[in-house]
Symmetry: C2
């Protein structure tokens, strides 16, 4: 019998990976909110760079009560919608099921663990460029690999488990490149090395990665911010090498002009994942006695911009549910 | 015989103070650039909040060669135009004359001293809201007091000299409130406590002082930035009290919504005084072994924005002389 998956949040990320799991032969259940009626009627549509177009009826649900308990519950919500999880996650998880956190930033597995128990959580870091362009319609632009690891409440290495390999094999059958990591949190800290400078600076300065990397002052600030991530991670017991920091910069210089998802959220005045990426990293460092004054500076600027965006949304009469990716 | 003044840069600041010196009975010579023909023909016009309107012919010059040597040469240029000083300052200063630096930031007296000699420089910190609204037409909005002090190459206290009192008396006869300070550089560091956070944050976040002071994250960041100024100043031998830092914040909370001049420069894509205010403060601290990572972060952001503004100006075909305030 194929493994069953619940996809919580069928947006640019959940829709893409869900469609790949369907193609892999898994039993996939999609939870939707605003797009439910559309997908029920028209099916889910995913145009992916490396696969034939996907446009098919799927098992779509408008309410968590309607889904069956699943082996794997993939949390594909933006972290800013995590207040929805308590009413969703526990009921969708089989007793021996596992929550798979496919979210950005740090500490999101802790949220899932509080609801599902620490032994029923794994996490994945998605390297993905994908957009939702209309109701139930996703356009995948590039990349898509996932780094998977088991959750540990103390951030220790948990090694590669059988269930981790099982989940990996489903994604791989769907054509998704998977890397298994012995220590999920170490992997998450590594990802922050890129996310911390580029998300914030593109938002605050309204620019793209290539323009940043052509400016001598931004080269210097990007480097300083990456070093601060490195220091916070080290204080928390996760070593990040200098060569990795250098590679992130060199790769970005060679990359095509890129607008990180936080920049797109900012432009559309959607909530930005400031706490998941910045707030949690700063607090983790603080608990270990490490300071990061430059990261704190950009964190506070992002908080100011995020609050202004949400105030502007409210004054335009946007109701909150309309912005939920669910 | 009245003291003679040369006003280098007849803009919002030079035009305002020059008109007050004319009213005080001083012999005032105005150096102009773009507005020369207009002022020659129509006179200088200054509408000031606390004085009757000034609209009168003045001694206007379009070239530094035409001015007589003066007792006091008031440098009212923006610091970003200081490359003009070598061809102006030495020729306009009488042998026993003094350069009066009425510019923003730190280290501008050093520039004047290199041209005029260290014993022929004093400085003034202007607390002024004034705009140039048209050719030779200045509208003064509020404030206007000046803190005057003698320059010392090592930043030591020089006390209150006779010539400082003499210059002060001319301004005071023109209705300008004057404070004399024993140590000019200590006064300049104090002014940076306000300028460093508010100039940068209003520019980077496109907002006004009142909005900043209503946001908890900005309250925190403003405080941290002021503390870093305090630490840089302390490393350079200038003590700034905690009560002063607190007063700057309390005063700003009570102030009407305010757009610092750097924000106006940014909006008009005019060069911003980033080096005078931020670069020189950081370098002074660095020479004394003090770091200020938050100030460095906003400095680099301002440098990026300033470079982008100037690139945009160039691509719009603005020739550089048109932006000079001279």
């Amino acid at each position: 019998m194929p493994r069953s998956y619940a996809i919580i949040g069928t947006g640019a990320l959940g829709g893409y990976y869900g469609s790949r799991l369907v193609e892999a032969g898994a039993d996939v259940h999609f939870l939707l909110h605003g797009d439910f009626e559309h997908v029920k009627r028209e099916g889910l549509r995913v145009e992916a760079k490396y696969f034939p177009p996907f446009h098919a009826p799927v098992k779509a649900y408008g309410s968590p009560e309607d889904l069956p308990p699943c082996d794997v519950v993939a949390i594909c919500l933006k972290t800013t919608s995590n207040d929805l999880l308590p009413s969703i996650l526990p009921r969708l998880l089989k007793p021996d099921g596992v929550a798979l956190v496919l979210q950005n930033g740090l500490g999101m597995e802790d949220v899932a663990a509080a609801l599902a128990g620490p032994d029923r959580v794994m996490g994945g870091l998605c390297f993905l460029c994908s957009n939702k362009v209309g109701p139930g319609h996703i356009v995948h632009l590039d990349y898509g690999g996932i780094t998977l690891g088991e959750y540990d409440p103390a951030g220790k290495a948990r090694g590669i488990t059988a269930r981790l390999r099982a989940v990996a094999s489903d994604f791989e059958r769907g054509g998704i490149p998977i890397t298994l990591h012995e220590n999920l949190l170490t992997a998450r800290w590594h990802k922050l090395v890129w996310n911390v400078p580029y998300n914030a600076l593109t938002v605050i300065l309204d620019t793209t990665t290539d323009t940043l990397m052509r400016d001598p002052h931004m080269l210097s600030l990007v480097d300083s911010l990456m070093r601060e991530v490195q220091q916070l991670a080290a204080a928390c017991g996760h070593a990040i090498g200098d060569d990795f920091v250098r590679k992130m910069q060199d790769d970005t210089i060679r990359m095509k002009p890129y607008r990180p998802s936080m920049m797109i959220d900012h432009e559309l005045k959607r909530p930005m994942e400031v706490e998941a990426i910045y707030g949690n990293a700063l607090r983790a460092g603080e608990r270990s006695g490490a300071a990061a004054p430059r990261i704190e500076t950009i964190y506070r600027m992002l908080k100011f911009l995020d609050a202004r965006n949400q105030a502007a949304r409210r004054s335009c009469g946007h109701a909150r549910p309309a912005v939920r990716p669910l």
